[in-house]
Each structure stands twice: as structure tokens, then as C-alpha cells.
Amino acid sequence: MASVCEWMRRLWGTLSRNRRDSEMEEELRLHLELASEDMARRGDSTEDALRAARLKEGGVSQAMDAMRDQRGLPWLDDLTLDVRHALRSLRNSPSFTAVAVLTLALAIAGNTVVFGVVDAVLLRPLPYQSAEQLAMLWTEDPTQNLREGRSACWNVEQWRSQNQVFADIAVFDGVSTTLMGTDGAEKIVGGSISPNLLPLLGVQPVHGRSWSSEEAELRQRLVLISHRFWQARFGGSTDAVGATIVLDGFPFQIIGVLPAGFQIATLDADVYTMSEEWQTRHTVRGGNTWFVVGRLRPSVTFDHAQAEMSAIARRLNDQAPAAERNRGISVVPLSLYIVGPQSRLALWMLGGAVFCVFLIAAANITSLSLARSIGRAREMAVRATLGASAGRIVRQLLTESIVLAAVSGLIGTMLAFGGLRLIRVFGPADLPRLNEVSLDLRVLGWALAISLLAGILVALAPAIATLRRDLRPSVQEGGKSVSGGTSTRRIRRALVVAEFALAIVLLVGAGLLVRSWWHVNGIDPGFRPERVLMMELSSPTAFSVLTQRTDLYHRALEQIQAVPGVESAGAIGDLFIANSREQVVTIERDDGAFSERLRFRRDEVSADFFKAIGTPLLRGRFLSIGDGPDAPPVVVINDAMARRSWPGQDPVGRRLKLGPRDSDRPWYTVVGVVGDMRRQGLEREPVPQIFESLAQNAPRSVDLFIRTSSDDPLSMAGAVRAAIRRVEKNAPIYGVAPLADQFGTYLEQRRFQTSLLTGFSVLALLMAGVGLYGLIHYSVATRTREIGIRIAVGARPAHIFRMIVREGLQLSAAGLALGLVGALWLGRAGASLLYGVTASDPFTFTTVSLLLTAVAAGGCYFPARRAMKVAPMAALRQE
């Protein structure tokens, strides 16, 4: 307690000098006087007494020093002195300070923003209890090229009862749900989950409760709602718990509200109901497939879990039907599922890139302050002569650069605050967890750490140079000529080479991504999304008969087509798809009918679907209204299917059927072949597809596509909606958007990565250019005398120009060579982010090299011009 008190007072003493020097001195003087009087009383003469007293009591100034040390905190005293000195010295060279602060602030801001994103998306644990123990469990089948496949409840129960590694395993799935409200039916996102899922995740409702085990057994109609749904529908009132809502035609009682922001992996539903299939998991085989999540027992590793689940899979395969004998189970950490390897790689790449920008910025400032330190050699020499130790001088240099970095860090953090807000708004919507980005303590801590690192890095080289140099002689030299500058220059040249090497690595990366972007952008999706309006239409829950739905879609499309400004309208079960399934089909060819397992996609489309979406007909005909329920079953296939199943033959007129040759499914006749559509994303190769007639098999809901004559298709939404309402009031309409927008989300992450990396690399290149300019400029300035002599003895200006430019280009060439090697080496690691180019794309490498050389030449041009114009006499008179 007493020592805390002492420290507080000493801190206060440092800040306020609460006991004045004069006061302390007075006290000491009195002491001496009294001492000498005592001596005099013992018989010494006054003078002798004073001398004896001094001898005995020690000098006043030494005692003063000791008291000053005790009064404050000596190191803090020195520090405030250093900081004051640093501020003064920075103020004395405003242009250096401005350049340094601006560069560093930008670099710190960039690093802080990217760290904020990396932290939110990759580093922070998921919002579940002990999230690192959570895993997704997938069914795999290498023979069917099935990865990350979902699993049936029956299988999950087998895994659950046989394993020793998981504390529990649960299932979930998103289901499109109709909510009946006062103003008509509405589509919302529902989650169907096994009752053990919430305890498994360690999540509890913020209001109300979860299902009890009896309720789960009895399959009561009880629902949990999301925080968002609660706010929107019930205004956050606790009355919500106990209220009843109508979902898919059945009344459900709300028993709980989940925490804000809760979602299960990537499923973010409005309402959560109990999975009914889960209750029959012991008895019913097959059925729907579900997402499966498990919690590892404490201290079980993922490797261990994977080994055990693989063993279980082998055991199950022995008892399984023939078609399911090659199944495997893969265990994937939940975090890795939520943010996939591609996004991870891209983010780490961006993080690395922005750190390179930071290093280049720091190198530039180091180089500048090295140049400055030579100019300040005299100042340092004076201080050394006056008794400052080398350590003291280095400490002052360090303080100076830390002050610089602190100012930059402050400005950089403010910039980062704005940057992070921009990212939250304009970042790619499909990058998971991006909404969690914020300037929190962790991010601020990072900003602080990187600022401190900047301060140390910038001080390092000048400090070493100062230590190496013998400080004293330059006092005599009058500070004009430069002594000991060679090692400084060597460091600066090395820094410029490193800057160029880093810049080239970034540029190559950006170049490759830009090239990939061009390729991806140029991909023909197989349809024309411009001027097309997209919406989803569900048939009312009461429509259980096929013909009711067929009729609804048919009449709705008729009405829509009658709306002025609508060119054509079509419907498909689902346009954008995640996965295709492998099924057995029987194909009729020239040489007979063959059954084969085939990964393909089967959809139902309306007659004008292809016309509305703009997919070309390659052979035969489109489906027509005539292909109704009573007409012979027909299909249209895509080109990929034609090439796969009828290589070199014309498929039109051939037949195929689902299932093996002896199955009792009907034969479909192929009536047409259409172009391939990329429905799984632009960068995924199209899979074989079969299109049935919507009139022959109508799903519960469809995607509608309306080709309009308007460049803003959304303006037609009202008229189209009204047309559908005329046919059926109770059919939910949702997801209204221009098709081009839907399509744009495919490109968002790539756009984000490409634009950010390009920005960083341009910044890096400019900084490297400025660094080279600074070095050459300085080199010309210090060699004015030498250049003057050269000109005086007959060197032509062009010769001088070449000499200077050569110096610069040598450096950039060295950087280029190093950087290209680095880019080749790193390119392989990032290859999975590329599309349509190889990591060693010669075009990119050449362009980037030329660009860099041009910037380097620009950096040398102006100093070289200046060197050419040196007047020999003036230069010689300089000293």
C-alpha cells in the first residue's frame, strides 16, 4: 500500500514537479550552513569549516540529483524529454513528417481493416459453447463423386449409437415454410431440427424454453422463433411466448425465442420446428437427407473421430444394400464448413498482401529517416560529445520513430474505422460472418501492435547506422560532407530492392486475379439474365392434387404473358442449385438400352421457360403446352447430357427412363437439346440435365422468370404480382429480384478479392516507386560535387543521365528478379483462387514486369534530369 502511494506520488512528481528545485536547494544549503557552524564551533576557521562540511556532507548538486531521482520516475522524466525532443525534431522537418505519417497511416489502416475482417470471419470462435468441438458429418461416396453429402436420419442413428467419440449428434435442414398472416400467406425460412440440436450447440432461448423430452416424444406442434422474427412480428413483446402462429396450414404454439444473431452453421431461419423424421429414426430407413452436426467428447481429436467414423462406415457398408456399399463418413470442423477453404485462402492472401504493403511503407520511411540521420550526423555528434551514451541516442531515435508511428496509428485507426464500416456495407454478401466485423478491442489491439512494430522497424536501421558510425569526427567536418554514408546507402539500396520484390509479388497476384476475373466474367452462363425478373411462387398448401398446381402455374403464366411489357414468361422448379444427385438411368442408343449411374439434375419446366431465360435450342424442339398430363411423356435435355449419354449420336427421338432397365417408370422421349446452363455458379462446369414438362409433373413451388422489355425489370413487379393475384389470392409470392442481381452474387467474393488485391498492389508499386525516387534523388544530391567534376572534365549530360538511370534500374531489376521467383513460388499456393489462367501465366508476368520497370524508370527520370543540369562551378563551390 505504502509503495503504491510512493509510486503515485513519484508519477505526480514527474508530471508536476511538486517540490521545486529551489526549495530542495534551500534545504540543502541550510544543512551545509548548520554543518559548518558546528565545525566552526569546534574551533575551525570559517573557511576551513565550510570546506570540511562540504567534504563530510557531499556536494549540493550530487544530493540534488539524488533527490530529483527520488522525486519523480527518472525513466519517465527522460521519456517526456525524449518525446518533447522528438516532436520538436519532427516539426522541424514537416515534409518528411507529412510523407511518413501519411504513408504509415494508410498502411496501418489497411492492415487494421483486413485484420478486422480476418478476425471476424476466421479467428473468432463461432457463437456456440466450446465451438471448437463441433463438427459437420457428411456422407461420402467416391464412386458417385459424392462429397459433403447429407444423410438420412436412420443412418445418423446408426452412427449415433455405435460411436464413442461424439457426445451427441443432431440433424437440421432449412425448409421453405408458409406463414399464414392476417394479410395473406407469406413465405418464410423455417428450420427443421432434431430436439437435441440446441443442447448440443449449447444455445438456450432468451425467452421461454426449448422442447422437453416428452414434448419431443409426443411430436407436439411447438415452435421456437428467431430474435429477428420476434422483433418484427411481436415487437419484442414477451407475450410472443405462448402465442400461436399458423405454419403450412397447422397451428403452432411459440414456446421460446432464440438469442439475437443465432444461426445454425449457415442456416438462418425465422422459425424452428422439430424434425418429425427424427422421431422415427429407429424404424424408418431412407427418407429425406439432413445436415448432420456433432459435438466431440472432450479431448477427442478430429483425427481420432474421423478414424472411428470411417470404421463405422465400413461396418455399415457390409450390411447395406448394393447401391450403398461405398459410403464413407467425413468429419469436418464446423468452422471449416462455415468458411470454406477458398474464402480462407483468399482472406489470408489479402492479409499477407496488406502486410507486404505495410512492410514496403515501413521500408520507405526507414530509408527516408536513414537519409535524414546522415543529415543529422552533426546533431548526434554534438550530443555524443556532450556525454550522451550511444544507448541514450538510440533510445531517442526509437522514441522519435515511435512518436511518428503513434501519430500515424491514431490517424490510421480513424481511417480503419471508416474502412470497416464500408466493408460491412459493401463487402461480399456471401462471405459468412462478415456482419460480425467491428472495430473492437482485438482490432484496436492489432492497430496498436502494428503501429508499435512500425515504430521499431523504422528506428532499427538508423539506430544500427548510428551505433556503427563513430559519432565524434563529424563535429569537425561541419556536417557538410557525408562520412560513413556507405553502409547507410547499402541498407537503403537493399530496402529498395526488397520493396520492389514485394511489390512484384503483389502485382503478379493481382494480375492473375484480374485475368481470372476477365475469364469468369466472360463465361457464358447459358442464359441471358438482362431484363429478366425473377420471383418464386408457391402453390397454396391446400393444393394437394397435381392438376391443381399444374392449373395454377399454367393460368398464372398466361396472365403474366398478357401484361403489357412482358415478352415471355416461364417457370422451373428451382433455377439455382447447390448439388446434383447421382441416379440410375436407362438410356436407349443405337445398340440397345443401357443402365448406368449418372450424376445429373432433373427439373420441371414450363413451355416458354427457355425462351424467357434466353437459353438456345440446339436440336429438335422446346416443350410445348401440348405436352400435358395426357400426352406421351417427353423431355428436353441439355448439351452436356447429349454428349455424355449419346456421344456422336443425335438424341432427338431416343428414349430414356429413370431407374434400371426393368423398372416400371415410364419411358421419356427426348424431343430437343438445349444449350448448357451454369446453374451451380459460373465457375462450375455444367452437369447433365433433363427437363420434364411442368404440366406432367408440377412441384409445390416454382421459380418464375419474366422477360420484360424494360431495362429495369423490377418496375414490372407490381403488374406481374397483380396478374398472379387475379388467378389465386392465397399463393405466396416472394424472392422478387432482377435475375441479373441473383447472378451478381456469384461474382461478389471474386470481385472483393480482386479489387482489394489490385488496390493493395497498386499502392505497393507506387510506394516502391517513391522509395526508388527518394533514394536516387538523395544519391544525386549527395553526389553533386562528383557530378560537377565529371561534367567539368568533359562528361556529356546524356552520359550523366544514363549513369543515374542505370543505378536505379539495376536496383529495380534486382527486385524484379527476386519478386518473380517469389511470385512463382507463392502462385502455386494460391492456384485454387484462379480461373482460366495458370499460376505462371506468361502474359501476366510479362505485363507486370514491364509495368514495374516503367514505374522504376519514372522514379529515376526526374533525379537524373536534375543531375544533367548540375552546373560544375556551383557544385565545386559548394564546400
Partner: protein, 104 residues
Amino acid sequence: MQGTLDLMVMQTLATLGPLHGYAIAARLEQVSSGAVRLNMGTLYPALMRLEQRGFVRGEWNVTENNRKARFYGITAAGRRQLTRQKEDWGRTVSIMQAVLGEQG
């Protein structure tokens, strides 16, 4: 020894009441028959430290021959500290004596 110096100063102030620096030094020298000689560089930082810790308080006043001096007096916290330190010191001394006696 920093601890012993503090102890001696506080003991002096506790017995004699407020004193200025020179008087403390003179008194200590007298009591110890010249064995303890404190120069200014030792005494005044120590007084300052004791003041910072709240064990003594300094005040400007006049001496009997009318000179301005800073007088130091022990505080209540100082007295408590003094009692505690004296006990510690006594214990240390008796332990040392026991140990040294054993060896002898």
C-alpha cells in the same frame, strides 16, 4: 541498508518530535557515537521517500535562531510502520544471535 536508515530516522522523529534534516543527522551521529554519518545525498532522498510513502510529513518552519527550515514529523502511518519494523528488526536480531551463538 535502506530499511535500517528509515527505521533510524523514524525512531528519531518519534522520540524527539519534528526535526529538520540536519538535526536528524546530528542526533543520529550523536546517539551512535559517530558511527552513523549520513551525508546529504543519502539523508534527503530517504526523507523524500518516507514522505512519499506517507510515513513522515515535511513543513517549512523557523528554527530557534529564526532560520527557515523544513521540519519533518512522523505521521500516524509512520508510527504504525515503525512499530512493525521494530518488531521485525527484533526478530531478525534474535534469529541471528541464535544462529551465530550455535555456530560459536
